[in-house]
């Protein structure tokens, strides 16, 4: 009985999660004219299924280079973020580190206080990072929230393992990467996912620090096509005509799919590591 209710509840939740997403995907294969005037939920493509919208989106200049740039930002950015975060989390999780709470305070404080956009911008510019790809990656490399997650996970690793390694003459780096990190694989996978998704969806640093369009990430380019009917941009009849294009709604849905699908596909690979982490934990006991 308990299980039946559980399955029904979870099944309903599953439907709630999937229907709006399904709507977007199906709408993206619809006919532009029908979609423009449609209001309800789209369960099957309206009219003859077509990929017209995708043709427009995928042949648009900048999309391909945007994909390449985003891939670079996600991969390099996640690696750098993970390295720094693991280092910080490791040091701050060691019980023998007397001032760890002071450092934790210094780090946590930045979650609450920040100088705001303009001062940060000036610092990045003065470091010579303006219009450099690193400006997208480095200033937001460490998230204190993620660091805390990892620190908590590292603290759960039994101290006896570390001590025996120390007796064998292992240094901190060896302990960190050979013992602690493998044991906290599940949490590390979670944090990798957090960083990767965050970088994938981010456009703000790119907007303020990059000048060259060939460095723009996908999201910044896609964001342009999602902007519709913004009155502040309309100064003349020509602008107004630009803003009312019949394909807009279709292009919008295709854009959503194009901008979301790849990162969704990334998830199952990470999910695999979750189960691996579970197995290791179970064997070691």
């Amino acid at each position: 009985m308990f299980l039946v209710i559980l399955y029904i509840l979870l099944g309903i939740m599953g439907l709630i999660f999937i229907v709006p997403v399904w709507h977007v995907v199906m709408a993206s294969f619809s006919e532009a004219r029908l979609l423009a005037s449609n209001t309800g939920v789209v369960l099957l493509p309206l009219g003859t299924p077509s990929i017209g919208g995708y043709k427009i989106v995928l042949t648009a200049p900048g999309i391909i280079s945007g994909y390449g740039n985003t891939a670079f930002y996600v991969i390099v950015g996640t690696v750098i973020s993970m390295l720094l975060t693991i280092m910080g989390a490791y040091a701050l999780s060691r019980k023998g580190f007397e001032y760890r709470n002071v450092f934790m305070l210094i780090l946590s404080f930045t979650m609450l206080f920040n100088g705001g956009m303009i001062p940060t911008y000036m610092v990045v510019r003065n470091l010579g990072l303006y219009n450099s790809r690193w400006a997208v990656i480095i200033p937001s490399a460490i998230s204190v929230f993620n660091l805390i997650i990892l620190r908590t996970a590292f603290q759960e690793v039994p101290a006896s393992l570390e001590e025996s390694a120390k007796l064998d003459g292992a240094n901190e780096f060896t302990i960190m990467f050979r013992i602690i990190v493998p044991l906290a694989k599940a949490s590390i996978a979670v944090v990798v996912l957090y960083y990767a998704v965050g970088i994938w969806n981010s456009w703000f640093p790119a907007m303020i620090y990059l000048k060259d369009r060939d460095k723009f990430p996908l999201q910044l380019i896609l964001r342009e096509t999602l902007l519709v009917n913004d009155s502040s941009m309309i100064a003349s009849s020509a602008d107004a005509q630009n803003a009312t294009n019949l394909d807009r709604k279709l292009v919008k849905y295709c854009t959503i799919v194009v901008g979301t699908l790849p990162i969704m596909c990334f998830y199952p690979f990470i999910q695999k590591y979750f189960t691996k982490g579970v197995m290791i934990g179970a064997v070691k006991g």
Partner: protein, 299 residues
């Protein structure tokens, strides 16, 4: 010097900390110098050193504004609702998934549940507006259940439920990941031992599962408390309209309208600083409480 002794004792740890600390000093503490603009009439030409100093003028302006009480009230209301409903649901969802025996069902539901998280806020808000219009999907459902046909997003009393529910829709699956990871770290032998002692499903949950994820829950809760006063403006300004300002307008959306849109750097810095101070106080208090009642704390 105790500090030097600690360095001598843990040289490796300090070396590891150097890049991390450098990061925070350069990208978090140096820009904090910019907080001075909250006490100035900051102009780009004058910069931080030559802009006119006005003391607490911007704070006084904010406290005297008719929107002071309303934005604070709305911010608190939305945060508390979000905490009460948004915080436990991912935990419950994770626990429910944990009980499911069928591997394929579990994996399907889990995979489906994270989908909404990947959709950007702009898109989600567009969908919400579509679905809650007077002929939208959700409205049709409400009408079928005997409700009234209207535009739900346009009603002040429905703004908060819509905001919270959509937040939950987007976040449940993804937020539950961290609990699932914690659950997967619980020693299976503990369950076996509990089962040998004759503990049923509920008692196993109560005595093994919950203690196993308790520290994760508490840390996340403390962090949540600290951000009590920071409801992000992005989603608010995408969802609110003239008819729902009275329940929807929060501090950050007010700052956005007053500051960022009008480029009044100093005023927005002042209100932001006020917001930060309250956040800090809340974080410290909740951390104290947590340290007192459980042995888990941030620092």
């Amino acid at each position: 010097m105790k500090f030097l002794r600690d360095i001598k004792r843990n040289p490796g740890l300090y070396i590891i900390m150097i890049p991390v600390l450098a990061f925070f000093i350069i990208f978090a503490y140096v820009p904090m110098f910019g907080i001075v603009m909250a006490f100035q009439n900051y102009t780009p030409k004058g910069g931080f050193f030559h802009s006119e100093f006005v003391g607490l003028k911007h704070f006084i302006d904010f406290f005297g504004s008719v929107y002071f009480g309303r934005t604070i009230g709305n911010t608190l209301a939305i945060s508390i609702l979000n905490l009460v409903f948004g915080f436990p649901i991912p935990i419950i969802f994770a626990l429910m998934l944990n009980e499911v025996g069928n591997k394929y069902f579990k994996k399907t539901i889990q995979t489906v549940s994270y989908l909404p998280y990947f959709i950007s806020v702009v898109v989600v808000c567009g969908l919400i507006a579509d679905f809650t219009a007077s002929d939208g999907l959700v409205t049709e459902l409400i009408v079928a259940l005997g409700g009234e046909r209207m535009n739900y997003l346009g009603q002040a009393q429905f703004f908060r439920p819509i905001y919270i529910l959509s937040d939950m829709w987007q976040g449940i699956g993804f937020n539950s990941i961290i609990y699932l990871a914690a659950l997967s770290g619980i020693d299976q032998e503990l369950y076996e031992a509990a089962a040998l002692d004759g503990a049923g499903r509920w008692r196993q949950t109560l005595h093994v599962t919950l203690p196993g994820i308790a520290s994760t829950v508490i840390i996340l809760l403390i962090l949540r408390m600290g951000s009590m006063f920071s409801v992000g403006y992005e989603k608010i300004i995408l969802l609110y309209n003239t008819n729902t300002y009275e329940t929807a307008d929060v501090i950050s959306s007010y700052v956005y309208r007053m500051g960022l849109q009008n480029m009044n750097y100093s005023y927005s810095a002042a209100v932001g600083l006020f917001n930060s101070v309250i956040n800090t106080a809340l974080l410290v208090i909740s951390n104290k409480i947590s340290a007192k009642f459980s042995d888990t704390s941030l620092f």
